[in-house]
């Protein structure tokens, strides 16, 4: 411990429970409860699909930039045999065509640092007729490409790195060991590589710290690093290959992916730790001669050889410290019901009302349910938000006869008190906020659903701007605050999602699966959503769930039981709760089951 303090400048933290956020990555703490030293480490990297290129092709030039700001230049299709001058820019979601390069070509090198869209170099490559090998260099300023000083030795499939003013060009076909450095005005030959190589080698780094791995002739596994002065051989790749691609802006974070082995194309990705290579996750579609760029934590691989070329993009993520999440069954709530209201979080939840028209209220402490005082007005399809000790039950339906109730009640941890009614009584609304600053929206005041929105200021309700798409049967469970709320999905089978900013509703990214009577809770930037009824005949209930991060929905683990008309409780996307609900078939097929969502940091116990 004395050594640790001297090295880190602080002592090891002693706490009774584990750190639970990404800031704990790399930190060491002593858990006084378990008696272990612990830390948070990244989970295994993974590939996902990204936006497809507008033009499918193969043999594109080396990629330039970052996962969220990348350029794909040139390429080749056949038949008909065509060399491309196309350039597309990737923003982390989709590709957009930008200004063409002047000389159409394939298999060139490129580099653009962190800002390829305003400062990129593209060099070398191939285009028929013979001899075909190019030495031209083009520079991009964000609007057009300009030819600048040629590289000294024309080459196909060179490896590049660095920036528009300090770049390296190494290796290439015809097989060469020549290395050139660009200083912003001219290329200068420097020390040769130890191992001449061509036909696509993985690369990463800058003009002063660079790594090459793989390539041809044959199928190479050797790697070597450049320190700004000379090349040094390092440990070999595990899988020898040519036509590989690299990612990483520094040597210790280099990754090599895809390529051709003696047995065919592979999707194998290997990561370098500064000393040796280790296999990590494969791309989903093995291929070679594609383009790649980015960092060791966030890269992309796109295009690739497969006549007449492919448009596929895959994104690499090696940044997450979150372990995969999962649903697990919790202890059943006492009262079987569907369409209750919910408030609070997984370890301090409040569930009230529901079908068949009950006012029963139960508290959950993360382990067991305790019945407390009933609501004053029994009802189902009630909207809930707030906390376990400051809950809100708004509107709903009572029967017989079927009556939309405008009643609103506040819970103080012990009992319910009536406050002022909403202006329009209805069922199946969604709600968010607190007892002094709430908002409800949507729902069904009659046979037709609407988009009415009302705000509560602690005393009275005021009608404000409607949702853009009126709907009932919106997600149940609290969804943020009065000035940052979400309305998700709804009747009949909607995928619409709208965000409320305290003034108006804006349509945002649709949820992938259209459902109504779904369950969700969280905030506008961290929501857990799922379950619901998808329609069809016979009607099916859904067990899928998604996490929303403020811009995109990510499918995550399915729940154990499909259902609708439950309610959700959640403080974060790490710990969620889905309570009660209804199974397929009749309206009396109600549940009292509970499922708990858990997605925690990837905590490791430090062994000797």
């Amino acid at each position: 411990m004395t050594d640790y303090k001297e090295i880190k400048g602080k002592t090891v933290l002693s706490i009774a429970s584990d750190l639970d956020n990404a800031e704990g990555q790399g930190e060491i703490w002593f858990n006084t409860t378990s008696g272990d030293f612990k830390t948070i480490v990244k989970v295994a990297g993974s590939w996902s699909t990204g936006g497809n290129l507008n033009t499918a092709r193969q043999y594109v030039n080396q990629g330039a930039g970052l996962q969220t700001a990348a350029l794909c230049t040139g390429g080749y299709t056949n038949p008909p045999q065509t060399f491309k001058d196309l350039v597309e820019s990737y923003d982390g979601s989709s590709w957009t065509e930008v200004a063409d390069i002047n000389t159409a070509r394939s298999n060139g090198g490129a580099t653009g640092g962190n800002s390829p869209n305003t400062a990129c170099l593209m060099f070398g490559g191939y285009v028929t007729p013979a001899p075909g090998v190019r030495d031209e260099v083009e520079s991009y300023d964000g609007s057009s490409w300009t030819e600048i000083a040629d590289i000294n030795t024309g080459r196909i499939s060179p490896s590049g790195g660095g920036t528009q003013t300090a770049a390296i060009c190494a290796a290439g076909d015809p097989t060469t060991s020549q290395t050139e450095i660009w200083d912003g005005s001219s290329w200068t030959e420097v020390a040769n590589q130890n191992d001449a190589r061509a036909t696509g080698q993985g690369e990463a780094g800058t003009s002063t710290a660079f790594i090459l791995a793989g390539g041809a002739p044959g199928h190479k596994d050797v790697s070597e690093t450049w320190d700004g002065t000379s090349w040094t051989e390092g440990n070999n790749l595990n899988t020898a290959r040519l036509s590989a691609n690299g990612m990483g802006q520094s040597v210790p974070t280099a990754h090599v992916t895809c390529g051709q082995t003696s047995g065919g194309v592979v999707g194998i990705t290997e990561a370098y730790d500064g000393t040796s290579w280790a296999e990590v996750a494969d791309v989903s579609t093995a291929r070679s001669f594609g383009g790649s760029t980015g960092t060791g934590n966030a890269g992309i691989y796109f295009s690739g050889s497969s006549n007449p070329g492919v448009a596929t993009t895959e994104e690499w993520d090696y940044s997450s410290t979150l372990a995969p999440g999962a649903w697990a069954t919790g202890n059943d709530i006492n009262q079987v019901r569907s369409a209750p209201g919910g408030a609070g979080i997984q370890t301090a939840a409040l569930v009230f009302g529901g079908y068949v028209y009950t006012g029963k209220t139960e508290k959950y402490d993360g382990t067991s349910w305790t019945e407390v005082n009933d609501m004053n007005s029994s009802r189902a399809y009630v909207t809930g938000y707030g906390t376990q000790t400051t809950g809100v039950a708004a509107s709903g339906l009572y029967s017989p006869p079927p009556t939309n109730m405008p009643n609103v009640e506040h819970f103080d941890g012990t009992s319910w008190t009536e406050v002022n009614d909403v202006n329009t009584g209805r069922k199946f609304m969604t709600g968010a906020g607190t007892q002094t600053s709430g908002v409800v929206s949507g729902g069904s005041p009659g046979p037709v659903s609407g988009g009415k929105t009302e705000e509560f200021n602690g005393t009275s309700w005021t009608e404000v701007n409607d949702m853009n798409t009126g709907r009932g049967n919106v997600k149940s469970g609290s969804s943020g605050t009065q000035t940052a709320a979400l309305a998700v999905a709804g009747y009949p089978v909607r995928t619409h999602v709208e965000s409320y900013d305290g003034s108006s509703w804006t349509e945002i990214t649709d949820v992938p699966t259209g459902v109504n009577d779904s369950i969700g809770a969280g905030t506008t930037t961290a929501m857990l959503f799922g379950f619901g009824r998808a329609g069809g005949s016979p009607v099916s209930v859904n067990s899928e769930s998604y996490i929303f991060d403020g811009s995109a929905w990510t499918a995550t683990a399915d729940a154990n039981t499909g259902k609708d008309q439950g309610t959700g409780c959640s403080g974060t996307t790490s710990l969620g709760l889905a309570v009660a609900g209804r199974g397929p078939g009749t309206s009396t097929n109600n549940f009292n089951d509970v499922e708990e969502w858990t997605q925690l940091q990837n905590i490791k116990t430090i062994a000797d």
């Binding site: 996902s48 699909t49 191939y126 997450s320 995969p324 995550t556």
Partner: protein
């Protein structure tokens, strides 16, 4: 993987969101010619197929689709000029699904 059970489907890669990082972390998935996808068989991968409007296939059906696509690619490669062949990474090889 030798003892794994797989499911097979045909699905179009629609880009972002088709395969998420969460999908990749939960099950093995591999794209093959003819839009054929092979996944380890589990609840999550079956829902992935449904989410992407995939059409489930038997292994034999999937292999037949792959064979047809590969044969077409091989025929297209055979029809190329020698110069054009030299620009490729070689004749497309046969693919045997796991």
């Amino acid at each position: 993987m030798a003892n794994d059970i797989f499911n097979y489907c045909v699905a179009t890669n629609t880009g972002k969101g088709f395969i998420t990082h969460d999908d990749s972390r939960r099950f093995w998935i591999s794209g093959q010619p003819a839009n054929v996808w092979v996944c380890t068989d589990c609840v999550e991968s079956r829902h992935w197929v449904a989410r992407n409007n995939g059409v489930s296939k038997t292994k034999a059906e999937a292999q037949a689709l792959v064979n047809t696509e590969v044969t077409n690619s091989q025929n297209a490669w055979d029809a190329l000029s020698d110069e054009a062949k030299a620009l490729t990474s070689g004749r497309p090889g046969n693919v045997t699904l796991p």
